[in-house]
Symmetry: C2
Subunit: 481 residues, 2 copies
């Protein structure tokens, strides 16, 4: 092994995964966390692209490795993260090692090597919706700075007396830095392993007295539904950071009002380590009515020190911070990537700024709010319509389980919004009823032109709505004339 | 002005002082904060030693400048931090400028210069009890890292909705980094100026809805006394960090139980920027009885990430973390000085570690507790007696206002503890009564051999007990035989 060699993991959130985080980066190798939900072809592609020397694999994912190992001939060994007794009697994979056997009897005193703080520490591939995944390298320096920034009271806010259960996977942008920030703060870590259903999570929250968790909105749905159905309350859970996509206002309200859990909006992306902003009030907001405070908490929040933000128009001209002007969100800072691993995708920065691909407003108090993805924003008659607001309104309808909004070709306006809705089980819901629900909540010309009901919204490997898939399914759709 | 030129301040905690912090360091100059309580001779010494180009002075301290300006011929100008209308009609100081006049009409858009992160940012002189003060330089890098570390939930724990009133002076180790950490967190700052008496502080806490403050124990005495005498409670004050010297258990109890203010012990020193450790519980302590929790909070706490600690004996051998072994406390980390400005005092580090001059224990859970200063520890018959425990017990006696313990020559034991006590006004208190108070609280041979009552404990410029002064006053003292 050489300084900078890659070692990958395909694993759930567990203590052996955490050990691997520190062991691999600690010897100067690069921890490459792989999303097990990737298509086997993509999985083999990134193992080879990263040139992984060793691959550490949870027992659950042995079939995945058996399917791809012949396509990854340069991997020196696959290490199964289990006890000797759990090892399979036979396997198609010849170079298979046992984790506990590999580390047994080794010296536990480690003289950590000294090397440049700008050395690579870990590697994540973005789940690109088009083309092959691209790798983002993090350095020891950027990881430590991000750990400090994300541990701050306005972001994760974890103290030594907290008990943290990361719901966000450790294969997904380093679980938003929690493996670093939680240990930095001295808190207790609790790992859910593969059991992420509402019942398992709730029981673990209670038995381990969990005070803090973080994850994407879709994961909270299961937990909230289970707790509501069984009329359960959390005894210790006090705060959660929600990111990945915006937390629907209805979910925020449930968590705060019904469960007494403080909800903090986080925003970021793989290229940002990932944390960019975090929600929170200012001193001057503390005496506002709750409804006003909620509006502020619904925004993505303030840039975490030392992230800089700006919004620009299509020509790159900076737009004002007035809470109304929206433009392409650009960021820069010590934990923001300047490009992709092996130069894939070419030059990325624009004048030193990273284009996030999000459309946002920034208000007078420096609160940023995402209004859309640049590629999802609907351009109707030369004006922009943000789809997130439209989706949040639909999601607040009591008969709607999930909703997505996409721009569809329109003969007159170029594009117009089409609402795609999954009804709650067993309810009757008409197009007219849901469209009426928009009245008075939004400018009339923003209202979707039509509604299509579907069985399920397609989600990507990290729980994000795949609008490309929806567009594919509806490629023959035409607005009623 | 050149990159690295020094600019000094002699000022209270005020907004112009904060502006100077950012303006001076922001242009690449070095902010040198001067303690106005220094003897004029020492003040002139450090202005000359630092080679300050400009000195920014609060109106209050004009007499100080009039007394020393002729001894500081290299200062280009003294800038009075006031409005034009407040400027004196005449002054002995020829090169006197007005702050508001200097900045009036200037461009408020600033292109911050780019320079190496290891460039010097600020400079503090230690108030050495012997010899001339020695300067400690902080770099931009060390200041940013310290700001992150000290802003963490286990340390200052300041969020964007907090209102922070720094009681610790901005001329004292950068007010423990608050001018950086509070702005980094986006909280509101409230400045007390020179009004640090109990009444003024209490009124400012209430009118500005202050939630967080930090300072040395002696300052809290005035505030607590005023609030108690007038039967007042704080409406918003929720947390304070106390450092400089250990917070007496009785004061901690009053703040927590009577006022509902969370008390966090901080420990550090000028050479450490200053924060080294902060108190706090672990998850496993949350169900302990309150009295047990208090004992843990009474310790100086855990090293803030990324400070390393160890304790060593007189020969430099590392001692175990068992909560009992005590030795010289050594530290290292990115915001710990490697030496003094202009090389004063020569080589300081021992094998890369900075000797703090404190004697401490570290327990199995990595909690550090100061038992004494290396120079104050009493060596009785070859064994060490820590004076802080002895002082805390005396301070807990209801008739004692203040207490200090010093080692005095003893014909048989080399040194034995002598307790020096200031009685509360109007009470009767005998030596026997206070010595009996130690029974059952401490090993018998630790009990002081004698008690001396004095009128006042001498305090240094930063509020610390000057044991050297006490020893001087009592130099002819002899233990009763």
């Amino acid at each position: 092994m050489q300084l900078g060699d890659r070692v990958s993991t395909i694993a759930w959130n567990g203590y052996r995964h955490l050990e691997t985080y520190y062991a691999v980066s600690g010897i100067g190798a690069v921890l490459h966390t792989i999303n097990p939900r990737l298509h086997p072809e993509q999985l083999a592609y990134i193992i080879n692209h990263a040139d992984d020397q060793y691959v550490f694999v949870d027992l659950t994912f042995l079939p995945l490795i058996e399917a791809v190992h012949t396509h990854c001939p340069r991997v020196r060994a696959f290490v199964l993260m289990c006890e000797r007794a759990q090892m399979p009697a036979a396997s198609k994979v010849p170079n298979l090692l046992c984790y506990e056997e590999v580390i047994a009897g080794k010296n536990t005193d480690c003289d950590w090597p000294q090397f440049d703080e700008n050395s690579a520490c870990s590697l994540c591939y973005t789940s690109g919706t088009t083309g092959n995944p691209k790798g983002v390298l993090y350095s020891h320096r950027s990881t430590v700075l991000h750990a400090y920034g994300s541990a701050l009271p306005n972001a994760m806010d974890v103290s030594s007396h907290d008990v943290v259960l990361p719901v966000v996977p450790m294969f997904h942008v380093n679980a938003w830095g929690l493996p670093y920030s939680v240990l930095l703060c001295g808190a207790k870590f609790v790992f859910p392993g593969p059991a992420l259903d509402g019942k398992s999570l709730f029981e673990l929250f209670e038995s381990e007295k969990v005070t803090f968790s973080a994850g994407v909105p879709t994961v909270w749905l299961g937990l909230i539904t289970y707790a509501k159905q069984n009329d359960l309350k959390f005894s210790h859970f006090r705060r959660t950071v929600i990111g990945g996509s915006a937390c629907p206002p209805a979910m925020m309200q449930t968590l705060i009002d019904d469960f007494g859990v403080e909800v903090v909006h986080g925003w970021g992306m793989t290229e940002m380590s990932p944390l960019g902003t975090a929600g929170g009030l200012l001193a001057k907001h503390m005496d506002l009515p709750v409804a006003e405070q909620r509006k502020i908490l619904q925004k993505q929040g303030h840039a975490v020190f030392d992230v800089d933000m700006k919004i620009v128009d299509d020509e790159g001209r900076e737009l004002p911070w007035d809470g109304k002007s929206y433009g392409h969100l650009m960021v820069r800072g010590p934990w923001i990537a300047a490009g992709y691993f092996r130069g894939e995708g070419g030059e990325v920065l624009q004048d030193g700024w990273f284009p996030t691909g999000d459309v946002a407003t920034i208000d007078e108090d420096a609160y940023m709010q995402i209004t859309d993805r640049s590629k999802d924003v609907i351009k109707s008659g030369g004006e922009w319509i943000g789809t997130i607001d439209l989706e949040n309104i639909a999601m607040a309808h009591p008969k709607v389980a999930q909703a997505a909004c996409i721009g569809m070709r329109h003969p007159k306006w170029d594009e117009r919004p089409l609402l795609v809705v999954v009804k709650k089980p067993g309810v009757e819901l008409s197009k007219e009823e849901i469209l009426q629900f928009y009245e008075g909540k939004i400018a009339k010309w923003w209202t979707p032109d039509d509604v299509v009901f579907i069985e399920a919204i397609p989600l990507g490997a990290t729980g994000k709505v795949l609008k490309t898939k929806i567009r594919e399914t509806l490629k023959d759709y035409q607005f009623p004339s």
